[in-house]
Amino acid sequence: MNKFMEILENSLLPIAEKLNNNRYLAALRDGFMVALPLIIFGSIFVVIANLPFLDKVLSEDSLASYQNALGPASSATLSIMGLFVIIGIGYKLTQHYGLEAIYGAVVAVASFLILNPQQLDEVTGVIPTAILGAQGMFLGIFTAFISAELYRFFVKKNWTIKMPPGVPDSVSRSFSALIPITLTLTIFLIIRILFSFTSFDTVQNFIYTIIQQPLTSLGSSLPATIVVVLLIQLFWFFGLHGQIIMNSVLDPIWYALNDENLSAFQAGSELPNVITKQFMDTFLVGMGGTGMTLGVVILIFLIGKSRQTKELGKLGGPSGIFNVNEPIIFGLPIIMNPLALIPWLLAPVVVTIITYVSMSIGLVPKPAGIIVPWTTPIGISGFLATGNSWRGAALQIVNLLVVMIIWWPFLKVLDKNYYETEKEATKAA
């Protein structure tokens, strides 16, 4: 068993290293980090605009004007989050190369806009906001990567206009960026023109059909989600931060799915996706942290006899309410603990299935596309994520009970072992 675990850990660590240190995935992760405060700002106002019982207190007209007044908050942030992700990626990747990062950011935005349709139906001179949200997410990410790379390539080629000494630094810098930016954007313009001769018409359309749609529909399926959940749990079992490792790959998919739901939610139509960013954050992490260990903490208080588990409950309980559970993971311990492995892997999968099914059959509303910070306590997060529905909170409580039932026998044995050891130790003393 030990040998097997060692082999597994030795193969997981390099994967974690590669995924976390890959410069594109790092830029992607940082790009989403840049967008996050804006996304949360927008989410807050979606929540306020859709408070429950408003429709009972306000007339239809005043409700509409209330929602219209708050609308810009989310349409300027949450709905066009792709734009901020592009800026973030372009900036961070260029910064990684030690170049003037702001040029990387603007070049990424301009390249992306060049590739997109600049008309909506018959109206020209507009940029459809849909492409700045979910629809353009993948194209935006690729464009940001490629434009930053091209920009770097041309800067390194040193075909820059050299200013004589004595020219102020900022002036010469703006000129030094001129040639790389011109060349980079020209390439994107050529790509755009080439695509206009294909049946896809725009690059946006091409990436969306060929890459984004297949990937998001794969990512929104239950089997794929279970695989991802198991991988995250497995990484954590070896004490490696599973989300940091997996999310950099999956965030684009989950956020795109999230945004599709948001548009539908705001339009008042049927929500298309069950699996979204919020599904993962609220219904898996949002119950005491990875592996939903709030259930374990409660069990410790209910049945814990040994000093070790009781101490741990007191130590890890408070932060567990805010879904920070490293004390439990490392302290129980869950890592490398054969007794914890089964409930650790099983509980999240069961909860995933319960949540997926209850949302699919309409028992509980699907996530409304609102981004709730993952540190939001259980109950509140479920309520907010499902568009202010008490059923979202109730589902979390049901899931919590399921987690407790799954853990019960295993924690009992674990606790008994500790208890016996402690008794032996006091006897020996």
Binding site: N20, H241, P327, F330, G331
Partner: protein, 104 residues
């Protein structure tokens, strides 16, 4: 004055440890500045620190950060998982002080 930097994914779980380490330092009468950051800020904050400790769940960062730490001239290590689980501030503080001492 000892300056101890901790890093994890978002600086949340290490900040639990930070408060315990501060308590331990105060008890021992050691003047120390201890703070936690998210991994992406670790490199910039290194300049202000005497030692960097990484949460065990982020130990895959060690290789990458080692190069930066060497440049900054500070030692770096992964926090012992058992001490991390117990939020054992005193123990981690000792590790940090030992690393600083050895680096002199």
């Amino acid at each position: 004055m000892k300056r101890i930097l901790l890093a994890c994914s978002s600086g949340m779980s290490t900040s639990l440890l930070v408060s315990k380490m501060k308590d331990a330092a105060a008890e021992k009468g050691i003047e120390a500045e201890i703070w936690a950051v998210a991994q992406d800020k670790a490199v910039t904050d290194m300049a202000k620190a005497d030692v960097l400790l990484i949460g065990p769940q982020m130990r895959f960062l060690k290789k990458k950060l080692s190069a930066d730490a060497e440049k900054a001239g500070i030692p770096l290590d992964v926090i012992d998982p058992v001490a991390y689980g117990r939020i054992d501030g005193a123990k981690v503080l000792n590790t940090a002080l030992e690393l600083i001492e050895k680096n002199k």
